[in-house]
Symmetry: C2
Subunit: 419 residues, 2 copies
Amino acid sequence: MELSAHFFLELAVILVACRVLTWLGKRALQPPVVCEMVAGVLLGPSLLGLLFPEFHAMIFPKATMPLIFAVSQVGLTLYMFVVGLEFRLDLLSKGWRGSAAVSIAGIAAPLALGALLGSRLMADPAYFGAGVKSWQAMIFTGAAMSITAFPMLARIIMERGLAGTRIGTLSLGAGAFDDAAAWTLLAIILAAFESNPLIAVLAVAGGAAYLLLIAFVVKPVAKSLVARHPQASLSPAGLRAVLIVLMIAAWYTDYIRLHAVFGAFLLGIVMPKGTFVDNLRDRIEPLTSGLLVPLFFAFSGLNTRLDLMAGQGLWMVALSILLIATLGKGVACGVAARLGGYPAAESVAVGTLMNARGLMELILLNIGLERGLITPTLFTMMVLMAVVTTLAASPVFELVRPYLATDEEAKRPSPAKAR
Amino acid sequence: MELSAHFFLELAVILVACRVLTWLGKRALQPPVVCEMVAGVLLGPSLLGLLFPEFHAMIFPKATMPLIFAVSQVGLTLYMFVVGLEFRLDLLSKGWRGSAAVSIAGIAAPLALGALLGSRLMADPAYFGAGVKSWQAMIFTGAAMSITAFPMLARIIMERGLAGTRIGTLSLGAGAFDDAAAWTLLAIILAAFESNPLIAVLAVAGGAAYLLLIAFVVKPVAKSLVARHPQASLSPAGLRAVLIVLMIAAWYTDYIRLHAVFGAFLLGIVMPKGTFVDNLRDRIEPLTSGLLVPLFFAFSGLNTRLDLMAGQGLWMVALSILLIATLGKGVACGVAARLGGYPAAESVAVGTLMNARGLMELILLNIGLERGLITPTLFTMMVLMAVVTTLAASPVFELVRPYLATDEEAKRPSPAKAR
């Protein structure tokens, strides 16, 4: 009983912190998602726990961590489902030609540099969990470098009315391709990391089975069910049915040792577009973003321990990770765009947007931490990298924005969300 | 981590059970809310745990109970806030005379009969814990008899589209008053049982302070804030602000030993009606009813042990409790409504609705069991009473429904959900 009363207090503190940081961040041209990331870190042992250890221990006692984690996972699952709902495969294929160079640069360069980084970091046991093999460490850091904050990228592009422009299509296409590649790599490492080869087989075979099931059963069934009442508003029973499938998908992808976010995202993608998807999003998104997702930021922040970053050496490593990440992703994508014939300003904008890691990176890092792939030290360094690359995106984008091509599409009023 | 994956499975099982029972219950005129309550009981040790103990232990391990409880409390709080949003004080004050009579009958009669019952049951040590004084037993059974399934009452009223009608407002107003009185009594007994009078003082003074704060600070502030943009759609920042206040209110009312549902309900009541309230409801209600509230039903069912009811003597006592409960609450409220000038059909409807105990009763009983006030045997009898009075509500209500007054307000299209 006490736990439940306390949970309300934790929720209130987390939401207040997110609100204050969002309010402050607005003045620094930062979108809410970035501010909430930072709020989570500040609520953790890195600031609140450092300045007011007793207050911090009182608000966030260890006993409530499993609760925060479990609820944040439900929130994350719902969120990734909504991201899947909004995902537009058509944009991806439409921008394919222009995106190819940027896509390849955006996965090849960070993978190569990330792998190099991983192999160097393996020399010190402070960064990877016991039993992690060299190639797993290399692929994990490579994947971590390759991640783009795809939902955030999409939001920024929509909010700025760039959805149909050359730069918007280019970034969305390349971002989607690179994220899909990075997540696939992560799934492979997670499967391979299991000491029991049967579990790896379960992950790979189970993942393949899930893909087939989604593509050849769930998608057509959902389509035919929805086609019966194409314009009908989603009933509570309909919503309940979707939530049941979503919870089963989340449990299943967790059970086969992938992760609930994969199941949720893929399920979201195959939901029939139109009124149905709009209704689902309208019913699920507000409470998910408003109440549950901040718990995930807070959980990540509670695991981010800047106090572990003792000594100049560790800060140098963190700085190297930041530089390698920016070089491998942002600079590589920008250069690829420039070489592909895009104007300088557009190339900078594309590189900056691709470089932002955002929430996606936090998800990947948390999975790595909970599975014992990486240590809290490397986790903290990577979180710092994610926060800085994401913080940089919006101001840099605003700097080059006056020089971006303003074609007809760019002027179109956008269906922007504030978030 | 395992806990979180398992939580998805529990959610899926609970949602499926609710869906199946709702589908079956529809044929017995039972609204979803009752079906979901029964689904919870069937998922507990009373059926699933009895027939398939190993499967039951696998799906609902003890370790996940605090998680289910905490999340279900968040769901219940959000739900009660939505109920508050729908609540119309203007209709309550219009029907104040009738509501007052029903309120007083609904607390005085069950208290008197319950106290009588308590003093009789004290003769047998099988019902109350060691060290329980006679007057404590009497007040506890009295309070238990006085409880109305307030959230359930509200849900039935909303589902039937009666949220804004005279009968809906009468029942909601009287139910709220009686429940508040019963909970205050519970706080007093708990304080006396713990020999800590400070808890009672905290509950009474803290509750009064909360009422004043809501009425003279929160209400005018919310009104003036919303008045600036009366027709504007609620922004994510606006929703976030409301959720912050809601979480603080829930924590506070839990902290002063009342219950989060009262804080949430009262806060919902004072939200400025119009676009603002409509937007809040649309954003909060779907995911709350679709995903979170079923957890509350499941939690209550998991604590209900009908397997304890062995022997004819015990069943006779259980039957007496059921009769006394119905006489003291349902019949008394119906008579009070009739004497207050309501037509016979409406009086029967009000009595029936007030008689349903539902999950509020289970919360009170669980507290009594936890603190050692009552034994598992009396707990189970009271649960039976709660289930039967709740199951009876809807069919009896349907019987008199054709005879209900169809005045202007009753005919008005309601904002009810199809659910």
